[in-house]
Amino acid sequence: MVEWTEFERTTIQDIFSKMNYDVVGQQSLARCLIVYPWTQRYFGNFGNLYNAAAIMGNPMVAAHGRVVLHGLDKAVKNMDNIKAAYAELSVLHSEKLHVDPDNFRLLGDCLTVVVAAQLGAAFTPEVQAAFQKFLAVVISSLQRQYH
């Protein structure tokens, strides 16, 4: 079981309660597709992903970014058992979507960058540590059912 300090719990709840899911979701996924272009392999039916401008303006990317970010809600609401909460999503990503788990880390890094840009100075080292720990637990849980 993951041990969370009071600070970590509060920080995670705070970040997500104030987050604009539409903006952060779109920006994180778009940034991932731009900075790590091989991640585009999972989105063959998204239409125009030919350059950064196209990716930033692509409505399917925006919509899917929102879906992915709301997927994190499950973890925010179940911090004491993220592993169990993500069992089904893990099977989905492994058996149906066939996503290489290394991509979770790449998207996680882009999400961290976007949140850092949003929070500015409020993204202190302590907040960054809590956020990255949270993402690490989510990523580990998402990988759990792979075999």
Partner: protein, 143 residues
Amino acid sequence: MSLSANDKATVKALWAKISPKAEDVGNEALSRMLYVYPQTKTYFSHWSDLTPGSAPVRKHGKKVIGGIGLAVEKIDDLFAGLLTLSELHAFQLRVDPANFRILSHNILVVLAMLFPDDFTPEANLAMDKFLARVALALSDKYR
């Protein structure tokens, strides 16, 4: 993943923008590396104070960011340009190269934090590639 002419231009333009705050970037990035990835503290057991923003951290952050600035100048031939630094890291410091990726990540986070409007996805891409090349050049003499 080699640097295109566009990547180099993007890195140089971004660096010109952030240069005035280079010391802050160095301090913030190093502080975060030590705090968020505590295993990196093992290389600095000789320092009196490893907390974010402490005097030794600030001083060293300045040195490290100076090294990155040098890399920007030598962007057209990183392996030759960073030869001395590579030898330093290989034979004296012996920093496990996995840590270069960790520091690079923290540099990117700090750039996003301090320059949200300039650190566009394109700038992110170019800097990520550039820092990866710097890491490669720094580890060139390791074995």
